[in-house]
């Protein structure tokens, strides 16, 4: 059943956020620490485990895949929720710090991606439908 996949996703989401909150309390910050990341890790491991046990039929997977495919539309809606007016009102200090920070980080990314050995690839990646 398709709802099993969505329920699995929901379980990972909630458990991850809860663990992220606990981690935040443990290190003394008033925010969630990596809740979504923990939820992703949970889902990755649960998927591998259930797959091995043969408990994850295609239909259940579709319950997760749908939400993965909804990702870009959700991000577009998120963009439409940004406080763009406040961002523009920030003035030169905000504009310059943001631009400089982004530029420095972009250069750093360029350096890091070109150094070291990169043995990762998308060769075995699942095919995604184009939007």
């Amino acid at each position: 059943m398709i709802i099993y996949g969505t329920a699995l996703l929901a379980f990972c989401h909630l458990a991850g956020l809860f663990l992220g909150d606990l981690l935040g309390v443990a290190i003394g910050v008033k925010t969630n620490v990596g809740g979504v990341g923990i939820a992703m890790l949970l889902l990755i491991f649960l998927r591998l485990y259930l797959h091995k046990k043969g408990l994850l039929p295609k239909e259940s997977e579709a319950g997760v895949a749908f939400w993965g495919a909804m990702y870009i539309p959700v991000v577009v809606a998120m963009a439409a929720n940004q406080n763009v007016v406040a961002a523009i009102k920030g003035g030169p200090v905000a504009l310059l710090s943001a631009f400089a920070a982004a530029a420095v980080c972009a250069c750093c990314i360029g350096v890091l991606t070109r150094t070291g050995r990169d043995s990762t690839s998308f060769v075995n990646a699942p095919q995604l439908e184009e939007i």
Binding site: A77, A101, G110, T113
Partner: protein
């Protein structure tokens, strides 16, 4: 007639937002194909349209939630809010290949730390250059350059004034928007091609919103790897901002 239609839109906010976003995606893919001949990704155009709509919504209502402040489009707030955004991000983890992610785990953590430190130093220095020479203001604006949540959390913790906190939020928001729009443009320069590079990007570019939109506009397959790292960004920033980074700044500038 129009009144009845409006009532239906308002009462079915989330469904209205599905229709609206679908329309935006369709228009964007048309623009992408006909006007740019596929050179600019459809989702990149859609995100820019989203930002423009957010700006219009803010101008018309004076609110803080962009388009979602218009009663007709409150559903967009639900669809693009933290709940569904995180739900969809977690769902993309289904596409992560555990082996690829593991190979780049260490460099991901390194870039996460660099991604907190570098924007902070840059932001705090520029704040200093513009006359915000006290440690509290420098730290708050520097933290804002990390993400727009780290800024106010740090500012509140160390007692910054509300205009400095507003400035730090604006800094973080502008950075997120730059990342959203700039990533597809600078993708070649940053070497964004593999899971490893996406994880480095997720650590350094910061903000879940910027990273998720930026990678979506570049190559959808990069998203889960970048998001996996980026979700730790705010937590690390909120941890280091009011503590180590504040103490270091205070030690440097004195007050």
């Amino acid at each position: 007639m129009l009144h009845m239609l409006e009532k239906i839109f308002v009462q079915n906010g989330l469904v209205t937002s599905f229709a609206l976003v679908g329309l935006i995606m369709w228009v964007s893919s048309l623009i992408s194909r006909k006007l740019t001949f596929g050179r600019v990704h459809g989702s990149a155009i859609a995100i820019v349209i989203g930002l423009v709509l957010a700006w219009l919504g803010g101008v018309f209502t004076g609110g803080q939630k962009g388009l979602a402040d218009l009663p007709l489009f409150t559903g967009v707030g639900l669809m693009g809010g933290a709940m569904l955004r995180d739900f969809a991000i977690v769902a993309t983890a289904f596409e992560v290949q555990a082996n690829e992610a593991r190979k780049a785990g260490l460099i991901g953590v390194v870039s996460l730390l660099l991604g907190t430190l570098l924007p902070f130093v840059v932001g705090a220095s520029i704040a200093h250059a513009f006359g915000y020479t006290d440690a509290v203001s420098m730290t708050t604006i520097g933290a804002g350059a990390v993400t727009y949540i780290v800024g106010p959390v740090t500012g509140a913790a160390i007692g910054a004034s509300s205009d400095v906190i507003a400035l730090s939020i604006a800094t973080g928001l502008i950075k997120a928007i730059i990342v959203m729009i700039g990533t597809p443009i600078a993708a070649g320069f940053m070497g964004l091609k593999t899971p490893r590079s996406a994880m480095i990007f997720g650590g350094l570019a910061g903000t879940v919103s910027g990273v998720s939109a930026g990678l979506a506009a570049t190559d959808r397959r990069l998203v889960p790897y970048g998001a996996l790292i980026a979700t730790f960004h705010t937590g690390i920033g909120c941890l280091l901002g009011p503590s180590v980074l504040f103490f270091a700044t205070r030690a440097l500038v004195g007050t």
